[in-house]
């Protein structure tokens, strides 16, 4: 299998963070995800999406990340899902 491109990895990390598979970045520090954590997050995403659990950003996984979807995260954080705005 070919190595995922830097663009795919960047998209993947952004996507995995947005939908709750990776923790949100700390505002005061630059954060680099360890390969193992990233692989685990990809596996969880693949399991959720019904894909083979390879832990790799393969073409099927990247294509799934491009699919139209609901904005809400798949994995709900401890603080709950919604950052609500009071009207």
């Amino acid at each position: 299998a070919r190595e995922p491109s830097a663009q795919d990895v960047s998209l993947g990390v952004d996507w995995l963070t947005r939908y709750g598979y990776l923790p949100p970045p700390h505002p005061a520090q630059a954060q680099l995800q360890s390969p193992a954590k990233l692989q685990d997050a990809i596996k969880v995403m693949q399991r959720f999406a019904g894909l083979p659990e390879t832990g790799v950003l393969d073409p099927v996984t990247v294509a799934t990340m491009h699919k139209p979807r609901c904005s809400l995260p798949d994995v709900l954080g401890a603080a709950g899902l919604v950052r609500r705005r009071r009207r």
Binding site: Y19, A49, E53, C70, L72, V82
Partner: protein
Amino acid sequence: YALSGSVWKKRTLTWRVNSFPQGSVLSQETVRTLMHHALTTWGVESGLEFQEVGSQGPMEADILIDFARAYHQDSYPFDGQGGTLAHAFFPGEHSISGDTHFDDEETWTFGSKDGEGTDLFAVAVHEFGHSLGLGHSSAPDSIMRPFYQGPVGNPTEYHLSQDDLEGLQHLYGKAPQTPLDKPTRKPLAPPPQPPALPPDSPSQPVPDRCDGHFDAIANIRGETFFFKGPWFWRLQPSGQLVSPRPARLHRFWEGLPAQMKVIHAAYARHPDGRILLFSGPQFWVFQDRQLEGAARPLTELGLPPGEEVDAVFSWPLNGKTYLIRGRRYWRYDEAAARPDPGYPRDLSLWEGAPHAPDDVTVSNTGDTYFFKGAHYWRFPKGSVKAEQDSPQPMGPKFLDCPAPRSPKATLKPGACDCQCEISQ
């Protein structure tokens, strides 16, 4: 199913469409009617009532529906066509709780084919699931899967999947028994004409997977699919069934002709990942779940006119595709896009294999499995000789079923010195 952790404490919820899509082919009446039906889908199963209110009321609606673009004053800006489609807020005491937002830059449709826009009813049912307290589900048939899965058919006939139903009833209990299908509120407008649905009756009896005798079995992207009549089961790579309940063929394989009630063989094509389903003397090619083009004759793969197949599989050792019928098999070269010469050959080249298998598939570890009746024959990776202990009952290994009581000795292939009476 997944729960958000919040739930409405009241059983009658008010709703209102606060803003409509701009420049959409859908009229405001159609949008309101689709919202009504999407809410009713959840209401009829739980006894929750949904009441549409006007903008002049003293109280804001519990579920306020908006079509918005880009940043729209919550934490989930929309991104234009594609990407994110909609979102909704879970139940609670905040004024935004329950509210549902659709990306106005999508091409919202109703009654169109998949690919011609985004079906508003399907997305609305999903979002209202959030409004009632459900999170995203990974269950294959769930409307709460996070990815858009295409139109779901006629709104007046749509029913929640078992997964969604159980999640909803965990939160709100079951609806009173009589009358079960009474709408929670009279529609404000006559329902739009629904698209035709494949004729799959929900009253159709579900087959027993432990009986074996599958029509087709295939490894598709690491999962094993077991087809029987208009149903199929999925076995995950971990060895777990996605659900003990089968899924409906036509709900999943979009575009498969409605009259096609049996899949005789299936396999995932090696070079491009396309999935081929065979029935009778024809086959259909799918990209993911969507049909590509029309039915094709088996003659394209080198079989004589009118011939059918019992089993098809791609052998990873040489990348070739094998098509089996009775005691014979053909070999097809996917790379050259032509059948190999010198076929058919006798299936006995696969030593120990049963003739006319129900299907053949290759596992994720590279072993080849022939299936027939309620048994399987395993050929270790790269080998054309069946394991000594073949055949084995397939139920305990694959389908979470108890081991059968019947002896397996009579299933050995080869000549049989026995008499068969009608009572046996």
